[in-house]
């Protein structure tokens, strides 16, 4: 497969949000390329959605500049933009029962003609992606009848069908059971190898370790970026973000995925029978 050229999206000294008087994020400088894998951590309400909406072009920055490969993002037509940046929202309901194949085919919209007639190459791309994500068996099922986890995989497949160089994922694992979470992380590593940039919001810091990802922290209207997950994920910093004590343990296990894990400290101790009988 021929690799399209690298992608680079840049925010320069940008205020983000809805009102000029009270931006949710201030003076943001951020560069993302198709070689980056970045996990976004932060409490709810710290501007994660605002950041994503801005990078997707839904919400223009209040000030500063936002460029894609050197050209202001707002000058791109939606079609062009969709060929560079794909979005994986949290899966939700649709009112109409499209099949999984049809939903994934929607991802090809930016590559189709004006009237949206799928060509052979579009259908081939859908097949390839269904195989890659191991969801070919769902192809003819109705999207509305799937479980939350299956739906999320279909939405990821739809984004992959766009063949964009940057994938923006909004807590893609939150509705998945544990097995599917692990499978999802596995697929994301696969994308990394194919030089697709990943920007992923997550509530589980462990995922940054597992993906060996950079960490972007949102706190008090600012961004902090760490190249190395073990710099970001330290008990002191985790306490600041989440307000609870979290230990970071090095398991010393080699292999795919980082060896460190986060372990929350539960303070209320459970009264067990062992405690009472010495």
């Amino acid at each position: 497969m021929v690799m399209p050229p690298q992608l680079k999206i840049e925010l320069r000294n940008a205020d983000l949000g809805y009102r000029k008087e009270s931006p949710l994020l201030q003076g943001i400088d951020l560069t993302l390329t198709s070689d980056d894998t970045v996990c976004v951590l932060g409490q709810n309400g710290t501007g994660k959605t605002t950041l994503f909406k801005t990078l997707l072009g839904f919400l223009p920055p209040l000030s500063g500049s936002l460029t894609l490969n050197g050209k202001p993002l707002e000058e791109y037509r939606p079609r062009e933009r969709a060929r560079h940046i794909a979005y994986v929202p949290q899966a939700h309901h649709t009112p109409f029962p499209y099949t999984v194949s049809q939903v994934v085919l929607f991802g090809r919209t930016a590559h189709m003609g004006f009237f949206g007639t799928p060509q052979k190459k579009d259908r081939a791309a859908v097949e390839r992606i269904l195989d890659m994500l191991d969801i070919r068996h769902l192809a003819r099922r109705s999207y509305t009848e799937l479980s939350g986890g299956e739906r999320q995989m279909v939405i990821i497949a739809r984004a992959l069908a766009q063949e964009a160089r940057l994938l923006i994922l909004d807590e893609p694992a939150s509705s998945l059971d544990y097995g599917n979470q692990v499978r999802l992380l596995d697929k994301i590593r696969l994308l990394e190898e194919q030089h697709t940039g990943i920007l992923m919001a997550t509530h589980q810091p462990d995922q940054a370790f597992l993906l060996d990802a950079q960490v972007l922290m949102l706190t008090q209207r600012h961004l902090l970026r760490y190249e190395d997950p073990s710099h970001a994920l330290q008990p002191r910093i985790l306490k600041k973000i989440y307000g609870v004590d979290i230990q970071v343990v090095d398991t010393g296990l080699a292999g795919n995925g980082a060896s460190k894990v986060c372990r929350p400290v539960i303070t209320s101790s459970k009264q067990t029978s062992n405690d009472q009988t010495p």
């Binding site: 997707l56 939606p78 919209t109 009237f115």
Partner: protein, 332 residues
């Protein structure tokens, strides 16, 4: 794709059958051979036959197809765009706007053409007002929700104005005229009124029929459709503009005919599936068939004709219940 074209051709065939049946059916029965002779060489021994077919039934049949088709197509497009199967073509106020336009023209004793023009203008004006209100409220809110609410505001306003018009109309002539107009009828349609309506319906239907794929993608919501490469605000304007054009022009011709635009898209979705590229043309064809059938009932069930708006509402309710039962196992 062959399955889809088969479905569309099947609907076209059914429409033709319904049209031929409607040509023959009525107080003045016409046999198949008589009809064939008339249509083939334009002659017949019966002097009334020509008038019955060309001046009365044919205009009515064409009007029924145009009105039913346009209302169903507009309803299907709106249901897709608003991502809500409960939406009907008058969601943005076009019906009450047209109703007020017609009532005002009747109050002013305008001729038929004036009533039609006024109804058309009223329908367009109502939707333009609804869009202006939603724009003035701003873009930071949920655009679709604000639009629907603006439509409700405008509908309520124009309904009040219709009541005002009725209240000030003289009860001998104008009040019944307004009331009958609001019930909807295909009875008085003349051949010369049709070309303009057909041209407007065609002009509005074409952009909708070509928006099928984009409506499919829009069903995942504004943000996702944008991320997938759809110019969502443009699609919305195309759909609203076209749907308003077709709805206002057919209402101007027929008066208010409810239910068709809400129910038929469901029936279409049931046989065609949710892909708007098929569902939209099937909706148009089924709408035409349904209104033809209802019009046959309207003009043959009793000695004096029943306004078709009453028939569609009476038939629509049980029909919708059956449809909901049939589709209840699936989500929409």
């Amino acid at each position: 794709m062959t399955r889809n074209s088969l479905m569309v051709s099947g609907c076209v065939l059914l429409l033709l059958v319904a049209a031929v049946f409607s040509l023959q059916n009525g107080r003045y029965p016409v046999s198949g051979t008589q009809l064939l002779a008339l249509l083939m060489d334009g002659r017949s021994e019966d002097p009334h036959l020509h008038t019955v077919i060309y001046n009365i039934r044919l205009p009515r049949i064409i009007a029924a197809i145009a009105v039913g088709g346009a209302l169903s197509l507009a309803g299907a497009a709106y249901q897709g765009m608003f991502r809500n199967p409960m939406v009907s073509p008058d969601i943005l106020g076009v019906s009450s706007g047209a109703g007020f336009g017609a009532a005002l023209a009747i109050l002013l004793s305008l001729p038929v053409a004036g009533v039609q023009a006024s109804a058309f203008a009223g329908g367009i004006l109502a939707v333009v007002l609804a869009i202006s209100i939603s724009r003035s409220i701003g873009r930071h809110h949920n655009a679709i929700l604000v639009l629907v609410l603006s439509g409700i505001i405008i509908s309520a306003l124009f309904s009040a104005l219709i009541s005002l018009a009725k209240f000030s109309a003289d009860p001998e002539n104008r009040l019944p005229a307004i009331t009958f107009w609001l019930m909807g009828s295909l009875a008085d349609i003349r051949l010369q009124e049709l070309p303009a309506v057909i041209a407007l319906v065609a002009a509005g239907s074409l952009p909708i029929l070509l928006s099928g794929w984009r409506l499919n993608v829009l069903s995942f919501g504004e943000d996702e459709a944008q991320a997938l490469g759809i110019h969502t605000s443009r699609v919305r304007m195309i759909v609203i503009g076209s749907a308003t054009l077709v709805t206002a022009s057919v209402i101007a011709l027929s008066g208010l005919i409810g239910w068709i635009g809400l129910v038929i898209p469901h029936a279409a979705r049931m046989i065609s599936g949710p892909d708007h590229r098929v569902q939209l043309p099937v909706s148009f064809l089924l709408g035409g068939i349904a209104l033809l059938v209802f019009d046959n009932i309207a003009r043959s069930v009793s000695a004096s004709e029943i306004p078709i708006g009453i028939i569609t509402a009476l038939a629509g309710a049980p029909f919708f219940i059956v449809l909901l039962k049939l589709t209840s196992r699936k989500t929409w």
